[in-house]
Symmetry: C2
Subunit: 629 residues, 2 copies
């Protein structure tokens, strides 16, 4: 059926269900959504269940948008006129994708007004639907700039979303039914995640990362399975770590034209990390695989989805994200293929334990035939201490080092481990388990933390409660000091005993190298690893016992300081949790593929899962294709 005919049919169906007096002027696919344009958005909103009923009956995600949206500048003025100054409005973000205006205010209650009266007044004045959130306590320049950019390119983006919408809702053409997964990286290794999910109708790339510690660690993006890149329907990101998303902008350089799906938090973290990646690569005098222009291209074509939202991303594939518990916005990507034919989950990196930041990964799915599961700690010996034991051990080392007048370097990914360790240190000081020393944050850790406070809905309920109901945001503790110039870095190095949390997490570049260079010669100082160190990284070499490591091309760092590894802060499930996760998976899948782990670990985990649960397992190699159905 022609797409125009399909839209006409949908419009007729909608008109038949909409009460008399509500006008439906246009119906259009925009990205994965069916947008209903109307002169009466308020009447639509008043019919509480109408949108739900339409969504269920039409099996589409429905958005209602007014025909006329006030110009954002004018609308902003009108909002400010309606809301009293005491609300402390700090920013407004007009999202042309949704017709919503996000009002950030220090006192959201004032914007809403008693029984929502003020909000209703706003709605009357402008076409936009107001949503109110508390102003994030730390401002993220990434979030701000991304939102500004999206506003600047809104017309282009709208055209893009319409073309994608039509592509998603194209007719099925093949008589064949099959589902395949091709491994383009991340098999029997950690890093360069990239998996191609294909059917006779569609091609989806899941993640597209680099490989830390490898000079040319790109996924196998040159194989014919994925070419031409414009044949890809979509890229689906599980989370924002660079080994999963670093090379997404590069795809646009080589012909990809489609959308990149992720959670909103993943999008903002990914943009931050990609821009930093470009700096790091440029500094290492490697060829930069793309420029900030392609990062903008990525932003322009990103489509964000929240957990649990079932979304058409291709004519025969629906995507639903579920919490993965790994980092902010991290998700298990669940694909529902065909008419219930086949369901595959890609866990991405996931944590089946509860952490200070996040709840455990989802193990319950409506349907599930196959799982691609990370195996970072998949070896039979790879059990981690409990969070409590890990934190006690961290406190012990901090106390010993500070007591002998030393400084502590904690290399950490800007996103994930840093915030987890920050929360542990803040509590340690608050409860007087460790001395109240300064905790310096270098690299992008502050910006990453700001993004965390922008998306509190992704944090676990305890932390959310602490922040919002108890008004005690641990990220705002005065022990945390941002290092944002070489001068301050010098001062930190020469200062009193302190703790330095800094990137990169595996010592392959970043400010951590400068701290190490200055502090490593002294026995009183301590280097504490709190995260996974991949093969080939300097972090892994130090863990293996190297006493000297290179810094750049000419200099050498002599390691006299204490080297400690505190396991248990990992954002990954350990072996016990991986097995428990499989045990709790519901429904039980027919096949499990162990990926994202050293060769030994993926094989060990696959074999153990088969032995214990009698589920068919595979430990794929890169560049293989598995037939699912």
């Amino acid at each position: 059926m022609l797409i125009e005919d399909r839209l006409k049919e949908l419009k007729e169906k909608i008109n038949a269900k909409v009460p008399a007096g509500i006008n439906v002027s246009e119906v259009e696919f925009e990205g994965p959504e069916l947008v209903i344009y109307t002169d009466d958005p308020k009447k639509f909103a008043d019919e509480a269940d109408l949108i739900k009923v339409l969504a269920r009956d039409l099996r589409k995600r429905i958005v209602v948008r007014p025909n006329v949206l006030e110009d954002p500048e004018i609308a902003a003025t009108k909002i400010k006129a309606v809301v009293s100054e005491g609300a402390g409005i700090t920013d407004m973000f007009f999202d042309p994708d949704t017709g919503e205006v996000l009002i950030e205010a220090e006192k959201p209650g004032v914007v809403i007004g008693k029984n929502g009266t003020t909000l209703r007044d706003i709605t009357k004045e402008i076409g936009w639907t107001p949503k109110v959130v508390r102003t994030p306590p730390i401002e993220s320049s990434t979030v701000k700039q991304t939102r500004q950019f999206l506003r600047a390119v809104k017309d282009e983006r709208k055209a893009f979303l319409r073309s994608i919408g039509r592509r998603i809702h194209r007719d099925l053409t093949s008589k064949d039914k099959w589902v395949r997964v091709t491994t383009l990286g991340c098999c029997r290794e950690v890093g360069r995640a990239a998996f191609l999910l294909s059917t006779p109708e569609s091609k989806i790339l899941i993640d597209c990362g680099d490989k830390p510690g490898s000079s040319d660690g790109f996924p196998y993006l040159y194989v014919p399975e994925i070419f031409p890149l414009k044949s890809l329907d979509a890229v689906v990101l599980t989370h924002a770590h660079l080994d999963h998303c670093a090379l997404v902008p590069m795809l646009y350089k080589y012909g990809f034209e489609g959308p990149v799906y992720s959670t909103p938090a993943t999008r903002d973290l990914a943009v931050m990390l990609q821009l930093d990646y470009l700096d790091v690569v440029a500094n290492e005098v490697n060829q930069v695989p793309y420029s900030s222009k392609e990062v903008q291209e990525y932003i322009k074509r990103s489509i964000t989805l929240n957990y649990g939202s079932v979304t058409d991303i291709a004519p025969d594939i629906k995507l639903t994200y579920h919490n993965a518990g790994h980092i902010l916005g991290s998700a298990i990507a669940h694909f529902h293929i065909g008419d219930g034919q086949y369901n595959i989950a890609f866990t991405g990196d996931f944590n089946y334990g509860k952490t200070r930041l996040f709840g455990p990964a989802t193990s319950q799915f409506p349907r599930l035939e196959a799982v691609f599961m990370e195996s970072t700690y998949g070896g039979s010996e790879d059990n981690q201490p409990s969070k409590n034991d890990a934190e006690s051990r961290l406190y012990e080392i901090v106390n010993e080092t500070i007591n002998r007048g030393g400084k502590i370097i904690i290399p950490a990914f800007a996103v994930g481990r840093s915030q987890e360790v920050m929360l542990a240190l803040e509590e340690g000081m608050r409860l007087e388990k460790i001395p109240k020393v300064k905790v310096y944050l270098d690299g992008m850790i502050k910006e990453a933390t700001a993004i965390h406070t922008t998306y509190p809905e992704y944090l676990n309920p305890d932390l959310r409660k602490q922040i919002f109901q108890e008004g005690m945001n641990p990220f705002l503790s005065e022990c945390f000091v941002q290092v944002d110039s070489p001068k301050i870095r010098e001062e930190v190095i020469g200062s009193d005993p302190c703790i330095i949390i800094t990137t990169s997490g595996m010592l392959n570049g970043g400010p951590v190298m400068e701290y190490l260079y200055a502090l490593a010669p002294y026995e009183k100082n301590t280097l504490i690893f709190v995260g996974y160190q991949a093969d080939g990284t300097i972090g892994r070499r130090i863990q293996k016992g190297w006493k000297e490591v290179p810094m750049g091309r000419r200099e050498t760092i002599v390691l006299n300081l204490q080297i400690e590894t505190v396991d248990g802060f990992s954002g990954h499930s350990d072996r016990r949790q991986l097995m428990a996760y499989v045990n709790h998976l519901n429904p039980r899948p027919e096949k499990i593929f162990t990926i994202h782990g050293d060769e030994k670990n993926t094989i060990d985990l696959a074999s153990s899962i088969y032995k214990r649960f009698r589920i068919e397992t595979h430990s794929p190699k890169n560049l293989e294709t598995y037939r699912m159905l």
Copy 2:
């Protein structure tokens, strides 16, 4: 290195090795060969070891060709002038690929002359190198027409071979080393053989057949792995049966431009069967997937190789054919990848037993890491009686049927089973084990037999000896009568007790259906299956006990005649032979993939091989990709 520079370098190396006085005017890649053009082909020929030494040192197949080749018409006249009429020259084939002229003569000795004097005289007169063969006792129109066509397009073909030669000898470009095989058909099923062997440098398609008994049994040629078709370096055929070669011409319709490798016998049989396939498909009112124009395209781009000839077919892949014992010209395709990196053999269909026609399949290879092995009779119960037992049983049924005044229908592939059964029947009559009745051959059996007599070098030594030394060619026995008109067919049906060998072998169309329609209602007649009946074919249904089968769209054949299956004539290895083959494989491969068999059989064979030999086995599905290295 530029190809011109490489040729220049090769020319210098050759000049350094060639004795003074022999001129080397040009060196050029033509197809897989390095052609040395010279004014002195005879001097070159006199230096017996020179070409061998050059081939070994340069690691190339070397052909020496005179700068000036006499026009074939004039050369033919000159040859006829030199050779006495008593030689009985029946045909001459000037092969511009090799600069050879093939002289077919009833008395080859006369053409050669005492101590080769006449041959030397010919060489002096013309530039062409004469080769003399005995005139095939039955003329094949396919062979004749193919040779004529190749002569007609010789300039175009030369340009093609030069471009292919340059493509084969291009530089390696990738830093990666990997070897993959993608299954495009023939996995857990019999038919539509198509395997893609790929490296970062090259893509080779092995076989490209249809699926008998299936209306849309094409391999999965639409997947991105194989696109665009012009990215394929070559197609490599194992043998001429349609489930391995039917769709090769179609590839040219969709953009393939490269060469198709096969043995010479396979090429001629394939052309014969493809043209017949077009007729059959057209009669069944299906859409014809290609026309005879594409068959010509195939002939134009075919490159023939003999067993044992190690040949560059891509910058990092060498192909060597070995006897497969299945049908005339059938070959195991052995691929040597990279600099000894990896070696894979595709058995195609193979017979590890000796038959009346062929020797057993080769099990010895210089190197061997992986084998893709057919599993037609791979089930643990799939043992076949010995040839002797099979023939005794055939004689028994023939005697019973003839004695009660019945006729015998033997459906058989035109190529393979027909000739095997012909030889058994001829001997049966000669040794008076069965009565001397007429054996009618309908369909392409006579033409196929003619091609057999054109290539006696592929027959086993006993049969060759019988034909050439004992002068008793069993194919010429007067018991065999060709049916070449509907009128004769009518006569056969109304005639005395007799034996009818006719196509198609699985009763999916062909003249066999007419015989069956006329003879099946009578209990005195017998239908004898001597070959494998694939799922979905009428042959398989009759074996399963159906008492009525459809003929075309409207009519029904009632089966009252006797139904017999005589196992043991198969061109395939039975289960015992498959296991013995693996046992004798030398060197022992690391991996065996069981293909070309029902799902049950491929899995059973894979599992048994693993259990007995501890070799890693896989029973792949279609549309999978396996990483070899």
